[in-house]
Symmetry: C2
């Protein structure tokens, strides 16, 4: 695991009341992901997930009736343990034409107290990008969806 760089990384950790196998399913099955991936009332109306290194991770969220598409690429996949993806590359590792936020997300899942120690890190290339992502509400947004994620996982 790459050490956290406080100038470039944002990180959130939660103890979820569901086992890693269920949390993993919520993160890798499109129909489950759509149920928790964006903070209510924002809806994720589409998700395409080819969960393997080089596979596509495409989502469309709807904010105030307007579609916002996001394309990315999975980089590392270790079932029930580690999931890494980036919005700087698209399917097949091709660089994207127009980078969005420009970050790599690293999610880890570890069994703890009958639940899952869930850690979500967003890694950036420049301090300004990390600052912008923080100001856009990284902690509030990822915090809110972690609660939604837990709810969906508990219902499985």
């Amino acid at each position: 695991m790459t050490p956290l760089n406080p100038e470039l990384d944002l990180e959130l950790t939660r103890l979820l009341k569901a086992p890693p196998a269920k949390v993993w399913r919520c993160w890798t099955e499109p129909e489950l992901l759509k149920r928790w991936f964006t903070p209510h009332p924002v809806v994720t109306r589409e998700a395409i997930m080819d969960v393997r290194p080089g596979g596509r991770f495409y989502t469309v969220m709807v904010i105030d009736g307007v579609d916002h598409a996001s394309d990315g690429c999975f980089l590392a996949v270790e079932p029930e343990r580690l999931l890494v993806f980036t919005d700087t590359l698209e399917a097949g590792f091709r660089p994207v034409a127009e980078p969005g936020l420009g970050f790599t997300a690293m999610l880890t899942f570890t069994a703890e107290d009958g639940g899952t120690r869930y850690t979500a890190r967003a890694m950036h290339g420049k301090p300004e990008s990390a600052k912008q992502h923080a100001e856009m509400g990284f902690h509030e947004g990822w915090g809110a969806v972690a609660v939604q994620l837990e709810g969906v996982a508990q219902g499985l």
Copy 2:
């Protein structure tokens, strides 16, 4: 394998007179890479290669006495078959602060006629980037170093 996109990709293929195992060594061992990686008289004076997905690929070439460093990240590693890296990410899949050319290189090695069918593809996000890379001499440069690569591999 992602299909070639003629607007975004540059590709070169050669039949090298050395087996995939030796060509692979030349591509993955720093002391061997330094012997062929840049077209003479340009010298690669340093190479750091952590050949695994997420591992660092760092080189320093010397052009007219001036150091030019390049940092990147390996994305896919299938020994003697496939090597993928990008300059849009650095070690640990972190986005780079200042992208250089912004491409992903995909190298394939296949046994053919006692040698190796070697294909090097550079994938870009925008047609302008592919055009710029072509104008900088992709075909001449990668063609010249393919001959050097063959020479080093034959000597193993």
